[in-house]
């Protein structure tokens, strides 16, 4: 068991808590960098997809896990990012410009939709984003002049400094860089006053407000940042799928994103990545075992969404810490061996908290 004695404030807000962190994350970084040399094309492609989902997951984690708001329309933001990026690329704008533009434009959309709804309770955001997602999906279908409608939209190959980003390996490295950037931004954001304000809003709106936090402003900011990161993920997603179809960005995808956050573990950036791995790997796993399942379960049309639903229900009821919580518990078991007690991680008795205005 490691005990950290903090003697300076700098230690309290340091990105790395101790040298162990530096070592293990450094090792992980080396492993991910050399992975394309070790693994086959298929696995690199899948890992790239995991990275793209992780970018969106980190964005949503800032919103759900740290600000305590929920969005059911992040698939729409992914779609906006994807189409903005693809359409601009087709106009001949270089990739290094379209990628940030996709993120910025999506963040603006997020602010526009968040600003009016966030004056109300967080519930309204869930409903408004659900409606927003369905409207944006219809726009993708009907605005054929720009999006190509159901015919789809072939995404041009991007170039960075004259090098074409092609194939699984190219997408893999670009996604890795963007994911590292997004993680760095989030970690820095969370140790800044803005991040503290977001956490305060999550824990109690009333006390945050009485400490002088402008609720609507910080909520809108969190929502815009979250949408912007999802827009970045969308720009990469466009290159991953290479052919944009409007029906890819439906409610089910939004639910998958939220599943990333819940399964990974609320309030942890690591959880967003673990959740993204889970959400990307579950369909692959289903595809593998589909034929071996009894009673023809494998051939049911709605198998995948219902499994996502089932996983969500079980995580919320029985494992609110998600995968990250399981990891922490396992680590604690080994670190304190043999002193783990039944009550070590027992949840406090909870009471109904009223968010109602009276």
């Amino acid at each position: 068991m490691r005990y950290l004695f903090r003697t300076q404030y700098q230690q309290d807000i340091a990105l790395w808590r101790h040298n162990g962190d530096r070592f293990w994350y450094g090792l992980l970084a080396v492993l991910v960098l050399v992975a394309p040399a070790l693994l086959g094309e298929f696995y690199i492609g899948e890992l790239g997809a995991v990275f793209i989902f992780a970018i969106a997951g980190v964005g949503l984690m800032l919103l759900v896990g740290y600000t305590g708001l929920i969005s059911l329309g992040h698939a729409a933001f992914l779609g906006i990012g994807a189409y903005v990026n693809a359409v601009l690329l087709a106009q001949g704008v270089p990739f290094l410009v379209t990628l940030p533009l996709a993120g910025l434009f999506t963040a603006l959309c997020g602010a526009a939709i968040g600003r009016p709804t966030l004056r109300m309770s967080g519930l309204y955001l869930a409903i408004a984003t659900l409606a927003f997602g369905s409207i944006v999906g219809t726009i993708f279908q009907k605005w054929t002049a720009v999006t190509g409608g159901f015919d789809g939209f072939a995404v041009p190959t991007p170039y960075v400094f004259g090098i074409a980003i092609e194939g699984a390996t190219g997408i893999y490295y670009v996604s890795l860089v963007v994911l590292a950037f997004v993680l760095w931004v989030s970690a820095n954001l969370l140790r800044s006053p803005t991040g503290r304000a977001m956490v305060a809003i999550r824990d109690s709106e009333v006390s945050a407000q009485s400490m002088g936090i402008h609720l609507a402003r910080y909520k809108t900011m969190a929502f815009a940042i979250s949408a912007g990161m999802t827009g970045l993920a969308g720009a990469l997603f466009a290159h991953y799928v290479r052919y944009l179809a409007p029906d890819a960005f439906d409610v089910l995808l939004s639910v998958q994103f939220v599943t990333i956050v819940f399964v990974g573990g609320l309030g942890s950036l690591r959880g967003a990545i673990l959740g993204a791995m889970f959400v990307r790997l579950l369909p692959q796993f289903i595809a593998v075992v589909r034929d071996d399942l009894p009673f023809g379960i494998g051939r049911l049309p709605g198998l995948e969404p219902s499994l996502f639903g089932l996983v969500l229900v079980f995580v919320i009821l029985f494992q609110p810490g998600g995968l990250n919580g399981m990891w922490l518990k396992t680590k604690h078991w080994f670190q304190t061996f043999p002193f783990k007690r039944q009550t070590s991680f027992r949840r406090q008795k909870t009471y109904a908290k009223s968010e109602r205005l009276r």
Binding site: V64, G68, L69, I70, L72, I113, P116, T117, R119, M120, S121, G122, L123, Y124, A126, I127, A128, L130, A131, F132, S134, I135, T138, Q141, K142, R202, V206, S210, V255, V258, F262, L300, P301, G302, L303, P305, S306, F308, G309, L310, V311, L312, V313, I316, L317, P320, T350, Y351, A352, K353, S354, E355, R356, L357, R358
Partner: protein, 293 residues
């Protein structure tokens, strides 16, 4: 004259489908007022209720009225069990956990219904199917009329229940102040489960009333999204408001289908919802509220 009749026809159709949205929204509002949870699976509960009614009436050949009432009771019992077994566990967790929990439950219900009843659209014969009533020279479908009349009757029954019966008054008390209600000897948890039961029963009624107009199928639950628009227009806490909101959404949708190109009718309810949030987020029937710390 042709035009006036056409418009009146649209209004009646809109009011009928609006009543369905209003009934689903009523389910949201009942639960939200009492427990501050929003049941995102309300539309799927309606779907389950519709299928149960279908089984009883078409498969077991029960008379329409008997089968309908039995289906409402079964769905209500299901709603009670849902709260007692699942939703009660998340009390005290943040609101968005409940949102995701009910959303996940909705997916499970959909899969369960698909396994049990199949993925085809089904329907059953009702006394109102394919009949028309002639009221003062106006020809209206009895199916639409039955929806409107059923909704009005239900509202009357609910009003009497909440204002006259002992349980109804206890429910009002519990939704106004849980703690005070508990101290007065009201079993708050049972009351909440009963409210879930009523809400599920209302959803089942909506499914039964809807069945002559549109078939019952697994994806019927997506009507729940339209019902959100109704609830938000009504202020998410007002029972008459949700019904009026539902009728507004239904009529706007009918006119959008008449005037706009195909495909846009489906999103009008969402557009109305977002517009409402931009213009008057507290809804048409907001209560004046302040925060007590």
């Amino acid at each position: 004259m042709e035009d006036a009749a056409r418009i009146l026809q649209l209004v009646v159709n809109g009011a009928a489908s609006g009543c369905i949205y209003g009934l689903i929204a009523l389910g949201f509002v009942l639960i939200y007022k009492a427990t501050e949870m929003v049941n995102f699976a309300q539309g799927d509960v309606m779907m389950l209720g519709g299928f149960v009614a279908f089984s009883l009436i078409a498969n077991f050949h029960l008379p329409y009225w008997v089968g309908g009432i039995l289906a409402i009771l079964i769905t209500a019992a299901f709603g009670y069990a849902l709260d007692a077994l699942v939703l009660r566990r998340v009390i005290g967790q943040p609101q968005f956990a409940v949102v995701m929990l009910t959303l996940g439950l909705g997916f499970i219900f959909r899969a369960a219904a698909g396994i049990t009843w199949g993925y085809d659209s089904v329907g059953f014969n009702t006394p109102f199917t394919n009949k028309t009533a002639n009221i003062g020279g106006l020809v209206l479908g009895e199916d639409n009329l039955s929806i409107i009349i059923g909704t009005v009757l239900l509202c009357g029954v609910l009003y009497l229940f909440f204002s006259k019966t002992r349980v109804g008054v206890a429910m009002q008390a519990a939704s106004q102040n849980q703690l005070a209600a508990y101290y007065m000897g009201i079993p708050v948890r049972t009351i909440f489960s009963l409210i879930w039961a009523i809400s599920a029963g209302v959803a089942c009624l909506a499914g039964i009333l809807l069945s002559p107009v549109s078939m019952i199928d697994v994806n019927m639950g997506f009507l729940g999204i339209k019902a959100f628009a109704a609830a938000v227009i009504g202020g998410f806490g007002s029972i008459p408001g949700s019904l009026i909101g539902g009728v507004i959404v239904g009529i706007v949708e009918q006119f959008a289908g008449y005037k706009l190109p195909a495909g846009f009718q489906e999103v009008t309810s969402n557009v109305v919802l977002l517009l409402m949030l931009f213009i008057r987020p507290q809804g048409l029937f907001a209560e004046r509220m302040g925060k007590r710390v």
